[in-house]
Point group: C2
Chain length 267, copies 2
DNA sequence: CGCAAGTTTGATGGTGCTCAACCATAGTGG
DNA sequence: CCACTATGGTTGAGCACCATCAAACTTGCG
């Protein structure tokens, strides 16, 4: 069974897991997953070494377990909105998340995609600066920022790990700003596909037939182009043999070096 | 006297301060300022509450003082380059810094400007992801990242403060990505000028006749346009009465709301 | 089968880039 | 004191790239 009773199913039990409605602000769509199942350090997820709590002292992991909360969302569900008071950070257990900002006239810029093992929703004081929305069915591990802060008094490694994640994200932003500010349409699309491929490789997944979790519109709103330009560019790449598109949502990269050349204009 | 013997002066004593050549990698241009003069918590700068060490426990401040180092640069000096191993973070005491990435064919994207009180050069493991260059004569407080990390074992507030700075920077990046990905030339320039004005206001400086520390080329490379477009846009704003340009390096904003309307297309 | 959503393709036009010249200011040396 | 130069900023003409508008195609689903 996939889901027989549509919206209602999301609020009570489904897929054999005990779930309850979540009470936190903005989380009306979330289902809380109370089942323990996973090889992760805290037993609540199967992220293994990708888990936020991986490698922490037993005591620290226990503290995190107590405040941790695994949530599930459907595609297109909103996790939180720009302007909501930021109270928690999220770790993606499975699925994909997009994070975006809107302009008054509806223009949208996606500022990040997050996949298995990624952390998002950094906020210390103040509100979320962006909206987070599930791209696919999604499972996330939520950690209240306040408790993380308290915990870091006694366990500085917690804060240090957040620092590491944020540093990585900052470096990513520098690259993305370069892409948006100075790259051509071809270079943007090539860079985007390469980044997905690189990421897959780093995670041990095959680097070449990569699945595209997001649609063309989302890609466009991420690389600062229109759907049409993204589509045209990808078919152009296909014509030129730079990529193959077995299906609209799968991209094969026969020659990484060639695509890399296309990604910075050295082609 | 301003400076009589040009380049040589930079390497020995100048302006009445005892200076020596700095030995750290990439810092061949820096002069180390060994004079104590300032109202800051550690006595090495006059940043006051803007100082990184402001509000820390006496013991923590002392630790920071011992590893701290105040450096001076001339405009166009390079502090560090993309690819250099990242060993320290910097706090701007006076002057302005730009941080940028280059593409193989010379295209440049400035990813940030930093002014009095700003912190840059975050790096944990690995290399700097960008080049940092002085825009004006510059004075910075350098803190070795390694010691900050060690210090945070006993003083978690150190790491927490870095976290705060990084969170702010992340939020800025979200805004800037929106600007680069989705805004028109007019909106970009308006947003840039408003951000400078806002910043001045927050720091207690007058919000309206704001000095432009950087040239048109730098502005263009920051907002993802060409010099010509930036120049044209600014004179257009002047024609329309949105701004005034008493000199090329000073912008007056008669009506903030009007400029704000121009910054997000609600005009 | 018909509909909806997503993707692709086509025709056309506008925004901002390119190339080029001109102007303003400050510094330099005769 | 005044060319002379260098640097940075402004202005103009033409064009390219990508956005816009429009329509056809594909796929999945009721």
């Amino acid at each position: 069974m996939t889901r027989s009773s549509a919206t209602a199913a999301r609020l009570d039990s489904a897929s054999g897991l005990v779930t309850t409605r979540e009470r936190w602000p903005g989380d009306t769509l979330a289902r809380v997953d109370q089942a323990d199942r996973g090889n992760g350090p805290c037993g609540h997820c199967d992220l293994g070494t990708l888990a936020f709590c991986d490698g922490f002292a037993r005591r620290t992991v226990t503290s995190l377990m107590r405040v941790q909360c695994t949530l599930r969302f459907e595609a297109h569900d909103t996790l939180f909105r720009e302007g909501d008071t930021g109270v928690a950070v999220f770790n993606v257990v499975s699925g994909a998340v997009k994070v975006y900002k809107l302009m008054p006239d509806g223009r949208r810029q996606i500022t990040g995609f997050f996949f298995r093992g990624d952390m998002f929703g950094f906020c210390l004081d103040g509100d979320y600066a962006y909206t987070a929305e599930a791209v696919t069915p999604l499972s996330v591990c939520r950690l209240p920022m306040q408790r993380l802060h308290e915990l870091s008094e006694t366990a500085p490694e917690v804060q240090h790990r957040i620092l590491l994640r944020m540093t990585a994200k900052l470096a990513q932003f520098h690259d993305h700003v370069l892409l948006l500010g100075r790259k051509t349409a071809r270079e943007r699309v090539a860079t985007f596909l390469l980044a997905l491929s690189e990421r897959a490789r780093r995670r041990g997944d095959p680097a070449s037939p990569i699945p595209l979790a997001m649609g063309r519109v989302d890609i466009a709103d991420y690389v600062g182009l229109t759907v049409e330009t993204v589509s045209r560019t990808m078919t152009a790449f296909k014509r030129e043999g730079l990529i193959d598109l077995p299906s609209p949502n799968h991209v094969a990269i026969p020659d990484t070096q060639a695509l890399r050349a296309a990604s910075d204009g050295s082609a």
